[in-house]
């Protein structure tokens, strides 16, 4: 149930206490950290592992880390990873079989009982998680692997106070401020020598954790500063997308010549679908050992950009790059709505930044719909 306590102030020097407190409560703390020239999401034990004093610049096909003049912890935009890697792992064993005479016997796989604390979840990512909830647990079919992890997570959201070059969450109505789906939400404020977080709690768990941390009530001036910073992010979105009537416009333009133009650039490499925080497609691989006595089934991230994905008897349904790109985009922004009741896009911009040749979903939509 959503609850909202009065916002409080947590001094930046006490951020480490939040991590310690979560760890003491049995959570595995995962959050942003620098690896291989990017801010990824991984296990973190202490605040020094956060991307302190770093930010990034992003454009189509380009991502670069950059230093800041301050010691901000969360002054970056979303990177190549998303939280789906914990909820819907890229490779996961679903079951094991053992041959028993002429029969096969299932061997139970222990549930993943890890309790994750997600540190630094952005508003668009909260929305992405809520979209995947619809896919994996709120529909006709429930994915027990997903639900097992999902039910135990503690979410520390962070409001965006700056937007990246490929961000367009305001167009999708998903950010930059975390609205729902978190335990604690932080807004990081740095003014002069002051460095603090405005913290809101939205759950009993959140309130409990916050209670044990040194905090004081937020003043009206502090709230105003925080809100202004979030508004700043809203004004500096690097991209925008017109969503009005979008589904219909896409349906009406299935044969638009621009699909062919995108296809001439598209590498069908699947990067966009891998980095997308809502893409949920997977394939299963059955493996045996050499004796054939033991078998396993593995689920792996798959993509509508591969030929195998649409393979039926006789061949692939979507042979051309054009048909595959069109399928991805129209599903994400159009048929997704019919399937799950929301758009499949949260405006995080990952597919633009991490496309090796900088294909831009917002630009392609503009072309295909003739700017309508």
């Amino acid at each position: 149930m959503k609850r909202e306590d009065p916002p409080v102030i947590l001094d930046s020097k006490h951020l480490g206490l939040l991590l310690e407190s979560l760890k003491k409560s049995g959570y595995l703390t995962v959050g942003p950290t620098v690896r291989d020239g990017a801010i990824v999401i991984d296990e973190i034990d202490k605040v020094t592992q956060l991307p302190v004093g770093l930010t990034d610049t992003q454009e189509g096909g380009t991502y670069r880390l950059q230093s800041r003049k301050d010691a901000a912890f969360f002054a970056y935009n979303v990177g190549p990873h998303s939280w789906k890697k914990f909820l819907f792992p890229p490779e996961q064993r679903l079951w094991t079989l053992k041959k028993n005479g002429t029969k096969f016997q299932f061997v139970d796989i222990a549930d993943n009982t890890t309790r994750y604390a997600f540190i630094g979840v952005r508003a668009c990512e909260l929305q992405a998680m809520s979209i995947q909830d619809r896919v994996f647990q709120n529909g006709h079919f429930q994915d027990s692997h997903y639900m097992n992890v999902r039910k135990n997570i503690f979410v520390v959201a962070v409001n965006c106070t700056q937007a990246g070059g490929t961000c367009f969450c305001t167009s999708m109505g998903t950010g930059p401020e975390a609205d729902t789906g978190y335990d604690l939400a932080l807004t990081e404020v740095i003014t002069g020598s002051l460095h603090y977080f405005v913290v809101r709690s939205q759950s009993r768990n959140g309130a409990k954790v916050l209670e044990a941390l040194p905090h004081k009530p937020a003043t009206a001036a502090q709230l105003k500063t925080a809100n202004e910073m979030i508004a700043q992010a809203e004004h500096e979105m690097g991209r925008s997308l017109k969503t009005h009537n979008l589904k219909t416009l896409l349906y009406e333009n299935y044969e638009h010549p621009h699909w062919e133009a995108v296809a001439s650039r598209c590498l069908t490499c699947a990067n966009c679908t891998m980095v997308c925080p809502t893409c949920f497609c997977s394939t299963v691989e059955d493996v045996t050992d050499l004796t054939g006595e033991n078998a396993e089934r593995w689920r792996k991230w798959d993509s509508c950009f591969s030929q195998e994905f649409s393979y039926v008897h006789g061949g692939s349904v979507r042979v051309s790059a054009k048909s595959r790109y069109r399928q991805w985009l129209t599903h994400k922004l159009g048929t997704w709505v019919e399937q799950f009741g929301t758009s499949g896009c949260v405006g995080c911009g990952r597919c633009i930044t991490w496309c090796p040749v900088g294909i831009d979903i917002t630009e392609e939509v503009r072309r295909v719909t003739n700017g309508k």
Partner: protein, 264 residues
């Protein structure tokens, strides 16, 4: 899952495995020897009937499964490969040489006599074809396993699938899928490093990008490679056109998409 080395149903004859070498460096055959614990399991599951890298003992054919390494570069080999085919029920080509012609297919772009006179002290003793060609241009191949060299886990997977009468899990999608599943940030996007991963078939375990290097396309073109688009982008990144062409003209130079791209 390590298998028991003494696998196989008692009383049932083990399938006979043969390994054949054509123009190649032997690296792919060595991948089989490099399988360590799994090699014992393989040796338990099949009768290794012909494998000169491992043993001089040769068991007469026909063979249930043949692994063929190397490309066809001589008239003698062009005939010998037919004998291998006739002696093999199921034939799997392994490695870039066998599946695309290998690095030695660079000769296909030049006059081979020029090379011969530079490389050999007594060129008059050299009898070679003008081209280096993959095995499937000569005979029917049942399965192709890519790589320079092949990945040992994939090699075991193909043998394993054959032995258990199932489809091998050898995807033909781009290296990027494997790379993202591993959680690696794209080296080209984040660091501006030229990488052939988007046009290259997965399977190597993402060796180079794991060490902040671009992919060299050892596994050849992925299923639907868009070489011109990547080449355009690499040029925009500031890579010299000549260097891009050279990057395509390596172990899989004779693979259609790379040949076409490098000659464009």
């Amino acid at each position: 899952m390590p298998a028991k080395p003494d696998a196989g149903t008692p009383g049932k004859k083990k399938p006979k495995l043969a390994v054949w070498k054509f123009a190649s460096c032997d690296g792919c055959q060595l991948s089989l020897l490099d399988c360590e614990d799994d090699l014992l399991a393989v040796a338990g599951a099949v009768e290794i009937a012909n494998f000169p890298e491992a043993s001089r003992a040769v068991v007469k054919g026909p063979y249930d499964v043949s692994l063929v390494e190397g490309s066809i570069t001589t008239t003698h080999d062009a005939e010998r490969i037919h004998q291998v085919r006739r002696a093999s029920k199921f034939l799997i080509t392994i490695g870039a040489c066998a599946t695309s012609g290998g690095i030695q297919a660079l000769r296909n772009f030049q006059n081979v006599d020029d090379y011969v006179s530079i490389v050999y002290a007594s060129p008059q003793y050299i009898s070679t074809l003008k081209t280096s060609t993959p095995i499937d241009e000569h005979i029917h191949v049942d399965f192709e396993l890519r790589g320079c060299p092949v990945n040992k886990h994939q090699l075991i997977e193909v043998l394993n699938a054959f032995l258990n009468n199932r489809k091998p899990n050898i995807p033909k999608h781009s290296l990027c899928v494997e790379c993202k599943r591993k959680g690696l940030p794209c080296v080209m996007v984040a660091q501006g490093i030229a990488c052939l991963g988007p046009i290259t078939q997965a399977g190597c375990g993402v060796l180079c990008p794991s060490y902040n290097r671009g992919c060299y396309a050892c596994f050849g073109p992925m299923e639907t490679p868009n070489v011109p688009s990547l080449m355009d982008w690499l040029e925009q990144l500031g890579v010299d056109k000549a260097d891009i062409v050279r990057a395509l003209q390596t172990y899989n130079v004779n693979a259609k998409a790379f040949r076409k791209g490098s000659l464009a």
